[in-house]
C-alpha cells in the first residue's frame, strides 16, 4: 500500500471513531414522553376524577341492576341481570380504585408533613370514599398492606377497614381546619368537586362518617348517637351536596351519558318503574328515565326475560355529557337520619323521612316537584322497611342502594327467577377480580352469595 492509501484508510478510521464517540443524551435512558414526578394539583385532579368515575361507572351500573333499578339487555349487562358476576368483569374498576389510592399516597408523600394540610385533608377524604366503595362491594380487602410496596398484600377484615375510613375522615377534617396561611399551596380549580372549598369538604366528610358508621346497624358497635352527631355537622342543604362534576369536553363526560350513547345495554326495570308509578303525583320517574317515545309514560323491562323496546336513562343522571352525578347528598343524609331515628322508634322519624323524600324530589326534578304530596308518612307507618324502600326510590343510580339492600334486606325485591346463583338469590358481594385472584396469593374467593361482614 502506498502512503496515500494508508492516509485514506486512517481518515476513514477517524470518521468511524467519531461515530462511536458521541455522548448520549438522557432521552436515550429516561423516557421523554412521561414525567418522573407530578405536582399537587395534577395528582389531586387525577384522584378526584377517578373517584367520580368509579362512583358512576360499571360498579354503579352493576349494583343498580342487582337492586332492579335497571335491567341488562345486552352484552355483559345481561349476565349481571342473570346473576353471573364474572370475575374478570371487575378488573378495571378494582384496579382503578387502587390506582386512585396510589395517587393519593403519592400526593400525601409530596405534600410535606404539615406544609399543605388542606391538600392532605381533601386527599384523605377522597381516599376514604375509595376505600368505602371497595369494602362495601368486596368485604374484606387488602388495606394495611395495600399500595405499600408489598407484593402479595394481605386481606384485612371489613371491620378494620371501616375503622380506618373513620380515622382518615377524622384526620381529613382536622387537616381542613388549618388556616389558609398555614398552607404553602391552596387547592383551587384542581379540586374538581368543590373548587377548594374546605368547608364543603368538611361537611361531606361528616356525612361520610355517618354513612360508614351506619354500616354497623347489625353489629354490636352500632352507635346511633355518633351517627346523629356526625350528621349534625354534615351536609345541611342541597347546596352542600358533593357532586361529580362533568363537562362537554371529550374527557369530561358523565359516564351514564356515555354508556347510554356508546352501549345502551341497561334499560329501566319494570319493578322500579312500577313502584314509582304507584304514586302518580311523583314525577321523579320522568327525570330518572326518558319517557319520549312511549306517550309520556315510562316502560320498564321485566327482570327475568329482558325486553329492549323500553325506556332508558333520562335527564337526572344523563341529560348530557355535563350532567353532574350525586356522590354524597343532603337527601342521603336525611335518609340516614330517618333510618337511625326509625330504629330508635323516635317520634321524629316520620318528619325526617318526609323531609328526605321532599329533598329527593326537589333534587331530582330540579325543583319542579317538591314532593310534599307523597311525603305523608306518619309515626304510625314509619318503619325501617319504609325508610329503606323510599331510599331505594330516591337514590337512583347510586351504589349505596345495593349496600342498603344487603344490610337491611329492604326493599323486599323479587329475585330474578332465572338467576344463576343457587336459590336464584341476588348476589351479596362482587367476586374477587380475576387479576387479583391470579396475582395475589392472599386473595380469597368467597362465593358471591356469601354476605359481607356488616350484612352478617
Amino acid at each position: 500500500m502506498k502512503y496515500a492509501e494508508i492516509k485514506g484508510i486512517s481518515l476513514i478510521s477517524i470518521l468511524f471513531i467519531l461515530l462511536i464517540g458521541c455522548k448520549k443524551d438522557d432521552k436515550y435512558f429516561v423516557s421523554p414522553n412521561d414525567p418522573t414526578s407530578a405536582t399537587l394539583p395534577t395528582l389531586l385532579a387525577a384522584l378526584e376524577v377517578s373517584t367520580i368515575n368509579s362512583y358512576e361507572g360499571d360498579l354503579a351500573r352493576t349494583a343498580g341492576m342487582l337492586v332492579q333499578h335497571g335491567v341488562g339487555v345486552e352484552g355483559q349487562a345481561t349476565q349481571v341481570n342473570g346473576y353471573t358476576l364474572s370475575e374478570n368483569s371487575f378488573d378495571n374498576q378494582w384496579s382503578q380504585i387502587y390506582q386512585a389510592i396510589n395517587s393519593g399516597d403519592q400526593l400525601l408523600a409530596i405534600s410535606g408533613g404539615d406544609e399543605n394540610p388542606r391538600y392532605r385533608g381533601i386527599t384523605k377524604i377522597v381516599m376514604a370514599m375509595n376505600w368505602g366503595l371497595l369494602t362495601d362491594l368486596w368485604g374484606d380487602i387488602p388495606y394495611t398492606e395495600a399500595v405499600a410496596g408489598i407484593k402479595f398484600p394481605k386481606y384485612d377484615s371489613q371491620e378494620s377497614v371501616l375503622a380506618g375510613i373513620q380515622t382518615l375522615l377524622s384526620e381529613g377534617i382536622t387537616d381542613l381546619a388549618s388556616a389558609a396561611d398555614q398552607n404553602a399551596f391552596l387547592p383551587g380549580a384542581d379540586d374538581i368537586i368543590f373548587g377548594g372549598d374546605v368547608e364543603l369538604w368538611s361537611k361531606t366528610a361528616w356525612t361520610l362518617k355517618a354513612r360508614y358508621l351506619n354500616r354497623l346497624s347489625n353489629k354490636s358497635d352500632y352507635n346511633p348517637t355518633d351517627i346523629l352527631d356526625a350528621l349534625s355537622k354534615g351536609i345541611a342543604s342541597q347546596d352542600d351536596d358533593c357532586m361529580g362534576k362533568h363537562g362537554d369536553g371529550d374527557n369530561d363526560h358523565n359516564q351514564w351519558y356515555d354508556f347510554l350513547n356508546e352501549r345502551a345495554y341497561v334499560t329501566a326495570s319494570a319493578p322500579f318503574v312500577d313502584s314509582l308509578l304507584l304514586r302518580p303525583a311523583d314525577t321523579r320517574i320522568f327525570y330518572y328515565f326518558d319517557s319520549s317515545g312511549f306517550g309520556n309514560t315510562v316502560v320498564g323491562s321485566p327482570v327475568a326475560v329482558p325486553e329492549v323496546d323500553v325506556s332508558y336513562w333520562g335527564s337526572y343522571l344523563a341529560a348530557g355529557a355535563n350532567t353532574p352525578t350525586p356522590l354524597v347528598t343532603y337527601f342521603e343524609a336525611l335518609f340516614i337520619k330517618a333510618e337511625v331515628l326509625a330504629r330508635q322508634g323516635s317520634a321524629n322519624a316520620a318528619d325526617v323521612l318526609n323531609d328526605a323524600i321532599k329533598a329527593s324530589c326537589k333534587k331530582v326534578t330540579a325543583g319542579a316537584y317538591d314532593g310534599s304530596s307523597i311525603a305523608t308518612y306518619t309515626t304510625a307507618n314509619t318503619t325501617v322497611s319504609r325508610v329503606m324502600y323510599e331510599k331505594w326510590l330516591a337514590m337512583f343510580g347510586q351504589v349505596e342502594v345495593y349496600t342498603d339492600y344487603r344490610r337491611t334486606g329492604y326493599p323486599n325485591l323479587t329475585p330474578n327467577p332465572l338467576g344463576a346463583t343457587s336459590g336464584h338469590i341476588i348476589p351479596k358481594r362482587f367476586p374477587t377480580p380475576l387479576t387479583e385472584r391470579t396475582t395475589n396469593t392472599n386473595a380469597p374467593t368467597p362465593a358471591i352469595t356469601d354476605p359481607v361482614w356488616w350484612a352478617q
Binding site: 421523554p32 385532579a45 376524577v49 377517578s50 364474572s86 395495600a146 377480580p433 396475582t439
Partner: protein
C-alpha cells in the same frame, strides 16, 4: 486495469435512457470533463456507465448454456480464454459474444464445473455443464456475509427472487408463505396493503416483540406494524381500527435477488441483542460484472383481478326482530318469516357490497456492468383496488445501486431506494364503524345500497348503533401515505491478500402520515354520537447503522483453513410520533382540524442505540469439517445508563461425512450439522431502569371511553400503572439445533432436516401484579418459554429431459411451544389484552397464547353438564379453551417445464391451530347464521345432567328453545361460554398456480431477448371447516402477539392474473 473501455449506448434505448437518467445528467457532465476518464472511473460515473464492450472484434458467436439434462443454466460467465473479454448469459442461458479467430471459450457458473470449448468455425454453440461434484451453493448469512452453505452448522433457507416474484404478492412477507419451513405467516390477504406477520420458530417473548429482524443489503430496516392512536386511547387498538401495513411492504419484490431466512438464534447470533427472533436477510438485485455485456432491460406488467373467496353463510328466511315479531330497534334477525313480514327483501347483501378488486403492477429495470463497475436501476409501481369499495393500496419504488472497483484493492458502492406507499383503508374488527361488523349483521329486510338519507345527508342504518357498511366504506376513510428512503454506502478494502476490511453505513428513514375521518352521523367516532371526528397522525422513524468488518483468512497447516472476522456495529434508532384529533365537525364536508369543536394532541419520542463488538473464528479442516465459534457483546441504551452489557456466544459444527464415502450414485452429498447459541430479544427502551413514571390517566371501566385530562380545564397526572423496578437483565434465547443435509441420486434429490430446541429466558415481562399494590403491571425478568420442533425441506428432480423438466419439492415444519415458567406465584398472564370474555394467555405448561375464556362445565368424559331444564352449566372461572398455534405447516410445490411451457403449483397446508370465531358466535346470537334458520324447533344439548339435578349423570333429554340454543349455547348471548366460538383453523389451499411460456429470441440481431407470458391464480381453491372468512386472517395484524382472532375481520380473496415480461 488495462482494458479499453468506451461509453456505449445501445441506440434503440437512447431515448429511453435519456429520460430515465436525466436526473443524473449533471454528474455525467461533471465527470466527462475530467481529463483521464479511463483512470478516474468513480462511483458516480458508474451510475452512468450503461454498458461496455470489448473492441477489436472479428466474429460473433451465439450460444446457450445448459445443464446435463438440457435445462438452461442462467447467468453463466463466458470468457475468452487468455483475454479479459467476457459476457454473462441471460436468464435462459443464452449468450452472444464476439471473439477473435481460434478462440477458446471458458464457461463457468455457480454449482457447475468450469468447462472450455474451442469455437472453431462454429457460430452457434450449445454448452452442457456438469454439476459440480461438491455443493458450491453460496448463501447470505448474518451481517450479509456470504458463505458456502456446506460450511454452515445451522439451518438457513434461501428463497430466490424468482420465487418471490412468481408469487405475485405485493407484500414480501406474504410471498414467503409455504416456502420456508419453520416460518408461520399470517396476513389479512384480502385487504390491500394489510400487514403480513411472520413468526420464525414460534414466539420467544411473552409480551414483547416476536418479529424477526429485517435486513436489506446489510442494513436493518423497519418492519413494524403500528396503529396510529392518541396517547389517551385506553384499549388495545389492534382489536379495531384498520388493517395497517407492516413496513416491510415498502420493499418491491421485483427488486429482490434472494431472501435468506435465518430461523434461529444460531443463524442470527451475530445480530446480538436483536437476533433472538431470527432474521430475514434480503439481498437486492445488482448489475453483473463482465465484459461485453449489453445494457439489460427487463420490463414486466401484470393485471390481476380479485374476488372474495369465503364469507360466512347467512339465513335468508327471517327478518329483523325478536321473538318472531318485526322490530327495527334491534340488531337481531329473530323476527318473522319473510313471507309474513310484508317487507321488501334484499337477500344478496354480499353481492350488493363487494366488488371485483384489481391490481396493476408494472416494473422496469435497467442494469449494466463492465469488468470494474456495475449498476442497476429499478422502477416499480403497483396499484391495488380492494374488494371492499373505496379501499386501495398503491406503491411506487425507485431503486438504484452501483458499485465500482476503484483500485484492485478498493471497491466502493452504494444503493438508494425511494418508496411511496399510499393506502385508503376501511374500518375492521370490533368497532361499530366496522364494515364487516355491520354488513354481516345486516338483516335481509335492509338494503345496504340505501346508505344516505338524501334530505339530511346523514347515513341510514338498519340499527342505530352500527354504521351502514357502504357509508363507513365511503365516508369514514382512513388514508395513509408513507415516504421512505433507505440505502447504504460501503467500501471494501483488501489490505493484504487475505486481509480485508469492509465498512457499510446505512440509513432507513420513513415518514407516514395518516388521516382518519368519521363523518357526521357515523357512530364510529370515539363518542359514538355521530358528531364526527378527524384523527391525524405523523410517524417519522429513522435508524442508522454502521458495520465495520475485518476479515482474515489463513492456512495454519495445508489442511486447516482459518477464517477470522472481527467487527463493530452501531445501531441508532429514533422515532417520533405526533397525533392530533379534532372532534365534532362544525360544518359538513370539511375534514380539517379547524372545523372541529374539540382538539386533542399527543406525541411520543423514542431513542435507542446499541453498540456491539463481535468476532468469529471459523476452522475448516480438509474441506469436510467446519467449526465456527462466534460471540458478540452489546451495549444497549435500553439497559439503562451504566447498564449491563451482554455477551451472546455461538458455536456451530458442520461435518460433510460424504467426503469419507467413495463416490457413488446414491449419496452425492451428506452433511451433519449442529449449533448452540444465545441471542437477545426485544430490548425495549426505557424499561430496564428503576423509575416511577407519571402518566395522564385514562379512567374507564372498559364499557365507555371514560375520562381523561385535561378535565374541566385541569391537568392530571397519576402514577403509571406499570412499575419499573430496575435491576433487570436482558432477555435472550438459547438455541440448540441439529440437522442433516443429503443429496441423493446424483444430486437429483435433496433432503434437509432440522430439529431445534430454543428456550427464551429472562423474558422482559409486563407481568400483572396484584392491583391492590397500586400497580397493574411490573416490568420483570421472568418466565421461560420453550419452542422445539422439526423442519423438513426436500426436492426431487423427477424428470430432467431436454424438453421436459419436472421437479417437485416441499417443506414441513412443526413447532411445539410450551410455557415453562412465569414469575413466581404467577401461572398465567395475558400476552396482550383481549376482550373480557376471551383472552390470549401464557399459561404454565401450555402452548403460547392459548385462548382463555369461559367454558361449559364438563364431566370426566368431556360431556357437557346440564341442569334439569336442559341448559348447560357454565364454569365459574375462565380456563384455557383452545390452542391457536398450528400443529404443523406444509408446503408442496411442483414445477413442470415442457418445451418452454412452465406450470408451477404451490399447495399450502396448515393442520390444527384454533381460531376464535367471535364473528360466528355473534351472528348465531343475532340469528343471522345459516344454521340458525332451523328455529321452529327445540334442541337437546348433547350432555349429561349435572350433580344436584334430578338425574345426575344421565343423558340429557330436556329440550331447550332455539333462541337459547343459538344465542347462548352456540353464540355469545346471555350466559354463554366463549368456547362456543372456538373452531379448527386447518386449511388446505392452492396458494399459487401459474402457467407460463417463454418466447426466446436467440438471434443476435433481435432486439428482444425473451418474452414471458404467465397466467397466475392465487388461492383458487381452499378447503377448510372454518365457518367464517378465509382462516388465514388476522384481527390484530402484524404488530400484535395475538394469533387466531376473528371478530368481523375483512375477508380473504382469490386472484386471477396475467403477467407479461420482456427482456431486452
Amino acid at each position: 486495469m488495462d482494458c479499453c473501455l468506451k461509453v456505449y449506448t445501445v441506440l434503440n434505448f437512447e431515448n429511453l435512457t435519456k429520460i430515465l437518467f436525466s436526473q443524473f445528467s449533471v454528474s455525467l457532465q461533471l465527470h466527462l470533463k475530467q481529463k483521464n476518464m479511463r483512470k478516474n472511473l468513480s462511483l458516480l460515473t458508474v451510475l452512468l456507465l450503461f454498458s461496455v464492450i470489448a473492441w477489436s472484434q472479428t466474429k460473433t458467436v451465439t450460444g446457450r448454456v445448459t445443464d446435463e439434462s438440457g435445462g438452461p443454466v442462467p447467468f453463466a460467465t463466458i470468457t475468452v480464454k487468455g483475454t479479459s473479454t467476457g459476457v454473462a448469459a441471460d436468464q435462459s442461458g443464452n449468450f452472444s459474444i464476439t471473439v477473435p479467430a481460434k478462440a477458446i471459450l471458458s464457461i463457468s457458473a455457480v454449482g457447475f464445473e468450469e468447462q472450455e470449448v474451442a469455437v472453431g468455425n462454429q457460430t452457434n454453440i450449445t454448452v452442457s455443464l456438469k454439476a459440480a461434484s461438491a455443493l458450491q451453493e453460496v448463501v447470505v448469512t448474518a451481517l450479509g456475509i456470504r458463505k458456502e452453505k456446506k460450511r454452515l452448522g445451522y439451518s438457513i433457507t434461501e428463497v430466490s427472487g424468482d420465487d418471490i416474484e412468481k408469487s405475485k404478492e405485493t407484500n414480501v412477507i406474504e410471498a414467503l408463505a409455504a416456502k420456508v419451513p419453520g416460518a408461520q405467516i399470517t396476513s389479512s390477504g384480502g385487504t390491500p396493503g394489510a400487514s403480513s406477520k411472520i413468526l420464525l420458530r414460534g414466539n420467544s417473548t411473552f409480551t414483547g416483540n416476536n418479529s424477526p429482524l429485517m435486513v436489506v443489503d446489510g442494513i436493518p430496516v423497519d418492519n413494524s406494524t403500528s396503529q396510529p392512536i392518541g396517547a389517551d386511547y385506553p384499549f388495545n387498538v389492534n382489536l379495531s381500527g384498520v388493517n395497517e401495513s407492516n413496513r416491510g411492504i415498502d420493499i418491491n419484490p421485483a427488486d429482490i435477488e434472494s431472501i435468506s431466512v435465518l430461523k434461529g438464534p444460531a443463524a442470527a447470533s451475530l445480530y446480538g441483542a436483536r437476533g433472538g427472533n431470527g432474521a430475514i436477510i434480503i439481498t437486492t438485485k445488482k448489475g453483473r460484472y463482465g465484459t461485453g455485456r449489453k445494457l439489460g432491460i427487463t420490463a414486466s406488467s401484470s393485471v390481476e383481478l380479485s374476488k372474495v373467496n369465503k364469507l360466512p353463510e347467512y339465513q335468508k328466511e327471517y327478518v329483523q326482530g325478536n321473538g318472531g315479531v318485526y322490530s327495527s330497534g334491534t340488531p337481531n334477525s329473530w323476527g318473522p318469516k319473510k313471507e309474513n313480514a310484508g317487507l321488501p327483501i334484499y337477500d344478496d347483501k354480499y353481492g350488493q357490497f363487494f366488488q371485483t378488486g384489481t391490481n396493476y403492477t408494472n416494473n422496469i429495470a435497467i442494469d449494466g456492468g463492465s469488468e470494474t463497475s456495475i449498476f442497476r436501476l429499478g422502477i416499480g409501481n403497483s396499484q391495488n383496488k380492494g374488494i371492499i369499495p373505496n379501499s386501495k393500496f398503491n406503491r411506487t419504488n425507485i431503486s438504484f445501486s452501483g458499485e465500482t472497483k476503484l483500485k484492485n484493492w478498493l471497491t466502493v458502492g452504494a444503493s438508494a431506494n425511494y418508496v411511496n406507499s399510499d393506502g385508503r383503508r376501511v374500518q375492521n374488527g370490533s368497532t361499530t364503524g366496522g364494515v364487516m361488523l355491520t354488513l354481516l349483521r345486516t338483516p335481509i329486510n335492509y338494503n345496504v345500497d340505501d346508505y344516505i338519507d338524501p334530505l339530511t345527508g346523514r347515513q341510514t342504518q338498519y340499527y342505530s348503533v352500527y354504521d351502514n357498511p357502504k357509508f363507513t366504506a365511503y365516508r369514514n376513510p382512513y388514508t395513509d401515505n408513507t415516504n421512505r428512503l433507505y440505502g447504504n454506502v460501503y467500501t471494501t478494502i483488501s489490505v493484504l491478500k487475505d486481509l480485508s476490511i469492509d465498512w457499510r453505513v446505512g440509513v432507513d428513514y420513513y415518514n407516514t402520515d395518516s388521516k382518519q375521518i368519521y363523518d357526521l352521523s357515523s357512530t364510529g367516532n370515539d363518542a359514538a354520537d355521530g358528531t364526527g371526528q378527524l384523527n391525524l397522525s405523523n410517524n417519522a422513524n429513522r435508524q442508522i447503522s454502521s458495520n465495520l468488518n475485518v476479515k482474515y483468512k489463513t492456512f495454519i497447516t495445508k489442511n486447516l483453513e482459518v477464517n477470522i472476522l472481527g467487527g463493530y456495529n452501531l445501531w441508532d434508532n429514533q422515532s417520533k410520533f405526533y397525533f392530533q384529533r379534532g372532534s365534532q365537525f362544525l360544518v359538513p364536508n370539511l375534514y380539517n382540524l379547524g372545523n372541529t369543536a374539540n382538539l386533542y394532541g399527543s406525541n411520543t419520542e423514542i431513542y435507542e442505540q446499541t453498540n456491539g463488538l463481535y468476532g468469529e473464528i471459523g476452522f475448516n479442516y480438509n474441506a469436510f469439517l467446519n467449526l465456527t465459534v462466534a460471540g458478540r457483546n452489546d451495549w444497549t441504551t435500553a439497559f439503562g445508563r451504566g447498564g449491563t452489557s451482554v455477551f451472546y456466544p455461538k458455536v456451530d459444527l458442520a461435518w460433510i461425512f460424504s467426503e469419507h464415502i467413495p463416490a457413488n450414485d446414491i449419496l452425492s452429498y451428506g452433511k451433519l450439522r449442529m449449533a448452540y447459541s444465545d441471542a437477545g430479544t426485544g430490548p425495549d427502551p426505557y424499561t430496564y431502569s428503576k423509575l416511577t413514571y407519571f402518566i395522564k390517566p385514562f379512567i374507564t371501566d372498559g364499557a365507555t371511553n371514560g375520562n381523561s385530562f385535561p378535565y374541566l380545564g385541569q391537568g392530571g397526572f397519576a402514577p403509571s400503572n406499570v412499575q419499573y423496578p430496575g435491576g433487570l437483565i436482558p432477555a435472550h434465547v438459547t438455541g440448540k439445533e441439529i440437522g442433516l443435509e443429503l443429496r441423493l441420486l446424483k444430486n437429483r434429490v435433496f433432503i434437509e432436516a432440522t430439529y431445534y430446541n430454543q428456550i427464551s429466558k429472562d423474558n422482559i415481562l409486563t407481568k400483572p401484579v396484584a392491583p391492590s399494590t397500586g400497580y397493574q403491571y411490573e416490568i420483570a425478568n421472568s418466565g421461560e418459554v420453550e419452542n422445539k420442533g422439526y423442519e423438513l425441506a426436500w426436492g426431487f428432480d423427477v424428470v430432467k429431459g431436454k424438453n421436459v423438466q419436472w421437479s417437485i419439492g416441499g417443506n414441513w415444519s412443526k413447532n411445539m411451544s410450551k410455557v415453562l415458567s412465569l414469575a413466581d406465584g404467577v401461572t398465567e398472564i395475558p400476552v396482550e389484552s383481549g376482550f373480557s370474555e376471551i383472552g390470549a394467555y401464557a399459561i404454565v405448561g401450555q402452548p403460547y397464547g392459548v385462548f382463555y375464556g369461559s367454558a361449559w362445565e364438563r364431566n370426566a368424559e368431556g360431556k357437557i353438564l346440564v341442569l334439569d331444564d336442559g341448559r348447560a352449566v357454565k364454569k365459574e372461572v375462565q380456563v384455557g379453551i383452545g390452542n391457536p398455534n398450528p400443529d404443523w405447516l406444509m408446503g408442496i410445490s411442483s414445477n413442470l417445464n415442457f418445451r418452454g411451457v412452465a406450470l408451477s403449483v404451490l399447495f399450502d397446508i396448515r393442520r390444527g391451530g384454533k381460531i376464535w370465531n367471535g364473528t360466528w358466535a355473534r351472528l348465531q346470537r343475532i340469528g343471522v347464521t345459516d344454521e340458525s334458520v332451523n328455529r321452529e324447533q327445540e334442541y337437546v344439548i348433547d350432555g349429561v345432567y349435572a350433580d344436584g339435578t334430578a338425574k345426575p349423570g344421565e343423558k340429557n333429554t330436556s329440550p331447550v328453545s332455539a333462541v337459547y340454543y343459538f344465542q347462548t349455547f352456540k353464540g355469545d348471548g346471555g350466559n354463554y361460554a366463549a368456547e362456543n366460538a372456538i373452531q379448527d383453523g386447518s386449511w388446505f389451499r392452492l396458494r399459487t398456480v401459474s402457467l407460463g411460456y417463454r418466447f426466446n429470441f436467440t438471434k443476435a440481431s433481435s432486439v428482444i431477448n425473451y418474452l414471458d407470458i404467465a397466467f397466475t391464480g392465487r388461492n383458487l381453491w381452499l378447503n377448510t371447516k372454518y365457518t367464517g372468512v378465509d382462516p388465514e386472517t388476522s384481527l390484530t395484524g402484524g404488530g400484535s402477539n395475538l394469533g387466531g382472532w376473528d371478530y368481523f375481520n375483512n375477508p380473504g380473496v382469490k386472484n386471477y392474473g396475467v403477467t407479461l415480461k420482456v427482456g431486452l
